[in-house]
Every structure is written in structure tokens, then in C-alpha cells.
Amino acid sequence: MPLYKLQINGQTHEVDVDADTPLLWVLRDNLNLVGTKYGCGVAQCGACTVHFNGSATRSCVLPVSAIGNSKITTIEGLSVNGDHPLQQAWDEVDVAQCGYCQAGQIMSAAALLQQKPKPTMEEIDRTMQGNICRCGAYHRIREAIKLASTKA
């Protein structure tokens, strides 16, 4: 198996995995970064969302061989103390029900705010429609993004 040097959350990690291994499983199985979730494996639910050079990307369909020197950020690396404005807003609005999809939701939202610090409701909806919340916490997800955008 080939050896890959991955830039994840500001650190270099070496992993020895098959070239077609999705980043999701490298994170979860090899690097013990389990905040990134498996939901569908086919880029339909957004639970596995990470940042690939700052863009929201579904890690379940991103082969490790395609990463190269690109910078990957996972929920564990979004902020040092878990206090990214979105993480704070998620607490303030009390978003989570089961919580399983929320890391992916936050990563999608964080990429949006990076590109568009003050998004409209329509822009929020359009971005976030790729992330399923089976508990139906969409109202609060939306509210938390709006709240974070006013603080950032």
C-alpha cells in the first residue's frame, strides 16, 4: 500500500492505505478523528463534510490519492477550543437533537461563512440543503448560522 502524507488540521499525518480509500475512512479508522461521520457513503447526506483547501467537501467520496498537499480541516480542527462562532452559536441556539449530523452541518456552514460572511437566508438554505438532519433541526441550524454571521 502506498504511503500518503496528509495535511490535516495543521499537522502532517502519514498513512499507509489503498489509493482508493475515501478520506472519511482514513480519518475515522487510521487517524482516530471520528468527528467526521459516515451517513451514506455516496455524498448525499453531508455528515462527512470536511474542508478541502477551505471548500466544503464530502470526504466519503474523496479518495486519499486525490488529496496531495491540499489542506484538510475536520471538525476537530475547526477551532482550537471548540469556540468557532458557529460552534458557539450551535450551543446558544441549542441546535442538536441526536447530534450525529451536526459536525457535517457546522463544516458546511463554516465554509459558507468563510466565503460569504453575511449570507442571506436563501444562500444559507441553498448551501445547507446538501446536509440532511433526520431529527429535523433545520430551523435552529439556520438560526445558528444567522447568529454566527452577525457575530463574526
Binding site: 492505505v17 482516530n32 471520528v34 455516496v42 450525529y100 440543503q129 440532511i132
Partner: protein, 723 residues
């Protein structure tokens, strides 16, 4: 009782040996070291000392053990709130710990039926009140004053006459030595400081930072991972297995067959996913290979069957219908749907010589233990079950199939194993909300009074698809409710608000049709019926008439019922799982298609425990009810599910949600549960609003299959033809 003055981690190490399951869950929630704990764990586990639910550290930190599985209903916050309320604890100093299965310390460690809070309400209050009483007693003794001169608040006992106060931490050691009092008085609800307030989820920080909370996140050194290849169609079994190619995949440790499963076991998820694709398994017919078209035909036959089971019979239905001024008939049908929790099924099992360790997401740890005990012939006391957080449940994790699979596999390969279902496994693996068809008939007299009512429910592995003692039973003099069930190889199970998740839509839509035929306002029509159930009751009923009237009137007021221009409003009210929820949906037509703009919900779940969590349950229930009514269906071809992932099986997304307003009736009744009751009324409110806005009556789900959502003019609607 003894004082254990060690770090939490050290404390755990020493207590694990003696306590079985109780403290095992701690590593899932509080990673940071906690201070010393008064009361050893065996005391806590056996109900001695303070009790099973709490311990108090010398620094005032209060640890509250929450025994029921957390799947998003927020029990991990609301249970401890109830204890802390009666304890008069400082909520900021409360640490919450998910308790493992411990049938000696706790009862009903189940998440299902919206029953946790109703069941444990008094138990939890009593736990807090008892400990509070002991702390007051300890303070009074120390000060040499009377107990009734002392008050409590924010984790302190106060003697206001002399201005003295002592923290619970300072008193814990003495208090724990006191005899446990019985029949301690509980607070008057007007004195509640926490209960009824919006309190944030205690797991927020862990959730938003990606901590390993869920079953799929569980790791044990030395464990292997596994996936099973199950039959692709219901009604088939394994004929032969060629596993040579799968076994050759690097990282694969075992490929073993048990029952109708072929397990692929290995060291990494990707290796087992790839190896499983290389399995060559041939299947043969083992039962009926049913298709959705077969079910459609079958339903029509069963609706006319003369072999129905009578569920309820009042008065003389035949005469009522033969003498009726008007008869209304309609049929409603729902498809199978999957539970689709975001975290697919999974469980960790380690079957050892001396016992079995089970860890993972389950709504019924007790049933899981019993099932594994029977399967492996191991006594229950040698089996431990630790609950992780559940990435959703919706009833799917009331089943124990995935737990026994993990245990059986571990016993075969003699290794600790985490069994993982892929999304496709999860969606095609059965235990669905059953498909059901209903036929309703109503007889009206010349004044538009409903004097006769007939309901026949026919379902596939549905059990009783009716709720015969629910409204409108009790309000109609001549009534017949019966059902027919078809046995199928397609497995079914409880799906959030079992049966009522669709029955409520069908019934509330039909009553809307009857109101229309009677030329009455839909809400007035219901209120008249409820009034009749009160003044001229017929037979026994399960619902409380006044509570149903209460939510109906509240939602009518809040939604400005009947006064809006250009908006189609639809009403629905339903009683399920002890609680009452009425909803009004506002629908407008945009580009010829109905759009749900807003849903108002009035809920009577008795005392609201956590206002934030309660609102979430109502809003989430509405989004869930709307989403599945609008979009979701699972169809079959020759026994094989045709949808297997979120690309083909549609769930509601953020762009598709309406505005929601939630209201609660504040009546001080003991809590009656809220995990499910907000879901059933939604389909009816929306369907009735769509009718009002478009003139089109929707009688089957998902709505999105209806012509009205596909740009076709009304009148060519295939799914909504009157019976």
C-alpha cells in the same frame, strides 16, 4: 458510604470491579477529570446513600446518572433537570453521566413510546427531594437548629435567621451517613426554577467539537470490524457462497457464514467494504417475493374480506348507514418507509469465556441483553450493556437484530467486533413502517351529524393498524372498526408514533371530508363531536376530551383560523402516547403547486420539563411528519427494496421546511411525553390545507407523487380519486 478522594479516572478504575454497569458510561460524556465523589459506586448502584441517580462531591459537584438511552429526545438533559430541581442544585455544577444497563438500580431503561419522562417523573423528583432532605438535615444538625428553619437554593442550605449557609459539597459527607427518609414532600410547581425553562443540551460541546459519542465512534484496542452480506430480497435465502476473492483482500481476517448472513471481517472499514463487493453469493427463493403492485392489489382484496378482526363495535352500524341522509367514503394508503437514522445500525460485542460485553446504540438495552442471553445461552448477569449516544432511533433501535448479529459473530470468531451496517444495509435491511390502506365510511343524518362511522384497516405485518378507542370513538353512536393483516416476508417494526404516524393523517383528512359533506367548518365539526363524546358518551375511550378541546381551541386562536385571505388552512388534532397536539397548516399555491408556508402547533404534554427540548421535539416531529408525508417511500420488486440510499429515497431538506410556531398548554398535569405526539397530526393538517388551497384531496403518501406536485392540472389526479 465512604469518601473516595481520587481523580475520576482512578475512581472509575477501582469501582468498575464492583459495580457492574453503572459507571461504565462515564467515559462517553465527561472526558475531563471530575472531583472526588461522596458515596461509593456500589452504594449508588444499589440505591443506598443518596440513591441510584446522584452523587455529590466535596467541592459541590453533583453527578446525576441518566439511565435511559439518549437518541435526540434530550433525555440526558431533561432527566437530570428533574432531579436537580428537587435537589435545589446549582445546575452549573451538575455533571451528567449516561448510566449503563443496571436493572437493580433503575427500571424501564427504554427509549420508546414517548414514555421515559411520564414513567420516571415522580421517581426522579423523589431522588432529588430525598437527597435535598438529607442535606438539610445534616446542616440542621451541624448548626443545632430545627430542620424547618432551613431553606435551600443553588446548591446551598441556608439558615436565614442567623445568615449561615453551607454548600452541598461541605454537607455531603455527613448527609450521606443519614438514614434515607421516605415520603419526602415534593415541590409545588410554582416554585420550579429549572423545570419548564429552556435549558441547553448538556452534550452540546461534545457534539459541536466532534467527540466520540456514538456507537460508530466506539473503539476498543484489538477489535475487528465487520459487515454482513444479507439476502438482497425478502423471501430469499443463501444457496451458495464463493468467498475466495473477498478473503484475498488485504486486511480481511475472516469471511464466515452464519444463518443467511455472510460476515466479512477485517481491520479497516474500507477493506471490508471492498471485500464484501467481491463476495459471490447465490440466493434462492424461500418465501413470497412480493412487489409493491402485489400489495396494491392485495389491499383491495383485503378491504372486502369477510375475515376481519373486529376491534370495536358500537350501536347498529347497518341501520345507521341504510337510513343515512348522506354517506361519505374514502380510502387512504401509505407506503413502507425506512427509519433512516443518520447513524446506521452498529454494535460492539465481545463474547468472552466469562461473559459478554455489549456497547452501542440501542433504545432497549434490557431487551438486547435478553436476546443475546438466549442466543448464546449465557446468563443475563454475565452480560453488560453500555449505551452510547444514538445517532437517531425513530424506533429502529427498539429491535435487537443488529445486537445479536454482533454477538453471534463475536462468538464465532472469538474476537471483539464492531458490526457496522452500511446505509444500503440500513435501508434495505427491513423493520419498516408497515404499508397500510384504510377505508373510511361515515353516515350523516339530515342535519349533518355523524351518526355512523366505519373504519377498516388492512396492513402488511402491521399488527392492529387501528386505534379503536381513539377519537372519534365515543362520539359516534354507531361505529365499527376492524382490520385485516397480511403476513409477508418483508419485516416491519415500530416507526416513530407507530401506526398513528399515518392513521392520524388518514383519519384527520377523512374527518375533513365529512365536515365538508356536512357543510361545517372542520374545527366546529370536531368540537361538536367532542361535545357529544362528553354529553352522550358511547363506550370507553382512551383520550381526555377536555385536553383535546384545549389544544384545538388554542391552535385555532394562534393560527387566526378562518380569517386569512389567499391562504388555505388545514386543521388536524390527534391524541397519541398520552399527549395531545393540534396543528394548523397554511398552504398557498405558487406556480400551480401547493407550498406549505407555516404550521402552528398547540401541544398538551402536561408539564413541560425543558422548554428548549420540548420545542425541538415538536418542531422536529412536524418536520419529520411533513417530510415523510411529502417525500418518502420504499417500494419493492420481487421482494427487493428498490430504494437503497438518500439518492433514491428522499428525506426532507432545509429548503423544504415551513415556518413553525409552537405553543404549549400550561395546565400543571404531570408530563405525558413528547417524543412522538407532534408527528401524527402534521400530515392531516397539511393535506387538509392543500385541499383548501387547491381543491385537490390527497389520499396517499408520499404527496409528491401526486399530480398536483407535478405540474398537472387538477382532475387528472390518479392517486386522489374518491372511492
Amino acid at each position: 458510604m465512604s469518601t473516595v478522594n481520587k481523580s475520576r479516572r482512578a475512581f472509575l478504575r477501582t469501582s468498575l470491579l464492583t459495580t457492574g454497569g453503572l459507571m461504565l458510561g462515564v467515559n462517553w460524556l465527561s472526558a475531563e477529570a471530575a472531583p472526588a465523589i461522596i458515596g461509593n459506586a456500589s452504594g449508588a448502584a444499589s440505591g443506598l446513600g443518596f440513591n441510584s441517580f446522584l452523587s455529590i462531591a466535596t467541592d459541590g459537584t453533583i453527578t446525576i446518572f441518566s439511565p435511559n438511552p439518549e437518541l435526540g429526545q434530550n433525555i440526558l438533559t431533561s432527566f437530570p433537570m428533574i432531579v436537580a430541581e428537587e435537589l435545589d442544585a446549582d445546575w452549573k455544577k451538575v455533571k451528567v453521566v449516561q448510566a449503563a444497563l443496571d436493572t437493580k438500580a433503575f427500571d424501564r431503561q427504554v427509549t420508546g413510546g414517548s414514555g421515559a419522562v411520564p414513567h420516571s417523573w415522580k421517581l426522579l423528583r423523589n431522588a432529588g427531594a430525598t437527597a435535598r432532605h438529607m442535606l438539610v438535615q445534616a446542616a440542621a444538625q451541624k448548626w443545632g437548629v430545627a430542620v424547618d428553619e432551613c431553606t435551600t437554593g443553588e446548591g446551598f442550605v441556608v439558615h436565614s435567621k442567623t445568615g449561615r449557609k453551607l454548600g452541598y459539597g461541605e454537607l455531603a459527607e455527613d448527609a450521606a451517613k443519614l438514614p434515607v427518609p421516605k415520603d419526602v414532600p415534593l415541590k409545588d410547581r410554582k416554585d420550579f426554577k429549572l423545570i419548564g425553562k429552556a435549558v441547553k443540551n448538556v452534550a452540546n460541546k461534545d457534539i459541536t467539537t466532534g467527540k466520540p459519542l456514538f456507537g460508530l465512534d466506539f473503539h476498543r484496542d484489538g477489535m475487528v470490524l465487520a459487515m454482513l452480506q444479507r439476502p438482497p430480497a425478502f423471501g430469499t435465502k443463501i444457496k451458495s457462497v464463493d468467498d475466495a476473492a473477498a478473503k484475498a483482500v488485504p486486511g480481511i481476517t475472516h469471511v464466515v457464514r452464519f444463518g443467511n448472513n455472510v460476515a466479512v471481517v477485517g481491520k479497516s472499514t474500507w477493506a471490508i467494504i471492498k471485500a464484501r463487493r467481491l463476495l459471490n453469493v447465490a440466493y434462492e427463493k424461500d418465501g413470497a417475493l412480493e412487489s409493491s403492485e402485489d400489495h396494491d392489489r392485495l389491499f383491495k382484496t383485503l378491504l372486502d374480506s369477510d375475515k376481519a378482526t373486529v376491534r370495536r363495535k358500537d350501536g347498529d352500524v347497518a341501520t345507521a348507514f341504510s337510513t343515512a341522509a348522506k354517506v361519505v367514503r374514502a380510502e387512504y394508503q401509505c407506503p413502507f418507509i425506512a427509519h433512516s437514522p443518520m447513524e446506521p445500525m452498529n454494535f460492539f460485542a465481545h463474547v468472552r469465556e466469562d461473559g459478554v460485553e455489549l456497547v452501542g446504540p440501542t433504545q432497549t438495552p434490557g431487551a438486547a441483553r435478553t436476546a443475546v442471553s438466549k442466543l448464546l445461552n449465557v446468563p443475563e448477569e454475565k452480560i453488560t450493556v453500555e449505551m452510547t449516544r444514538l445517532g437517531g432511533g425513530f424506533g429502529r433501535r427498539l429491535k435487537t437484530d443488529y445486537v445479536t448479529e454482533a454477538a453471534e459473530l463475536s462468538s464465532i470468531i472469538k474476537a471483539p467486533v464492531k458490526l457496522i451496517w452500511s446505509r444500503e444495509d440500513d435501508m434495505t435491511g427491513g423493520s419498516y413502517r408497515p404499508a397500510v390502506r384504510y377505508r373510511f365510511e361515515a353516515a350523516l343524518d339530515a342535519s349533518g351529524n355523524m351518526i355512523g362511522y366505519k373504519l377498516r384497516g388492512v396492513g402488511i405485518n402491521s399488527g392492529n393498524p387501528t386505534r379503536e378507542d381513539n377519537f372519534p370513538s365515543g362520539a359516534v353512536p354507531h361505529l365499527l372498526i376492524d382490520s385485516v393483516e397480511h403476513a409477508s416476508p418483508i419485516t416491519t417494526g415500530a416507526w416513530r408514533a407507530p401506526i398513528t404516524n399515518f392513521l392520524a393523517f388518514a383519519e384527520q383528512s377523512f374527518l375533513d371530508e365529512v365536515a365538508q359533506a356536512a357543510k361545517k367548518d372542520p374545527i366546529v365539526f370536531r368540537l361538536e363531536l367532542l361535545e357529544k363524546a362528553k354529553t352522550a358518551p358511547v363506550g370507553a375511550i382512551k383520550y381526555d376530551i377536555d385536553r383535546m378541546i384545549g389544544v384545538t381551541k388554542l391552535v385555532a386562536e394562534k393560527s387566526a383560523w378562518g380569517t386569512k385571505k389567499g391562504v388555505g388552512q388545514g386543521f388536524s388534532v390527534y391524541f397519541s402516547h398520552r399527549s395531545y397536539v393540534a396543528q394548523v397548516a397554511d398552504v398557498v399555491m405558487q406556480n400551480g403547486k401547493p407550498v406549505v408556508k407555516k404550521i402552528y402547533a398547540a401541544s398538551d404534554c402536561g408539564q413541560v420539563v425543558n422548554l428548549s427540548g420540548a420545542r425541538q421535539q415538536v418542531m422536529g416531529g412536524i418536520v419529520d411528519g411533513l417530510g415523510h408525508a411529502m417525500y418518502s417511500k420504499l417500494t419493492f420488486k420481487d421482494g427487493a427494496p428498490q430504494e437503497n440510499n438518500f439518492g433514491s429515497y428522499r428525506l426532507i431538506r432545509m429548503t423544504e421546511i415551513p415556518e413553525i410556531e409552537t405553543y404549549f398548554v400550561d395546565n400543571g398535569i404531570d408530563p405525558t411525553g413528547l417524543g412522538e405526539p407532534a408527528l401524527p397530526p402534521t400530515g392531516g393538517a397539511v393535506g387538509n390545507a392543500i385541499f383548501k388551497a387547491s381543491g385537490q384531496r390527497l389520499r396517499s403518501q408520499p404527496f409528491v407523487d401526486d399530480a398536483i406536485f407535478n405540474g398537472k392540472p387538477a382532475g387528472v389526479n390518479k392517486t386522489a380519486r374518491p372511492a
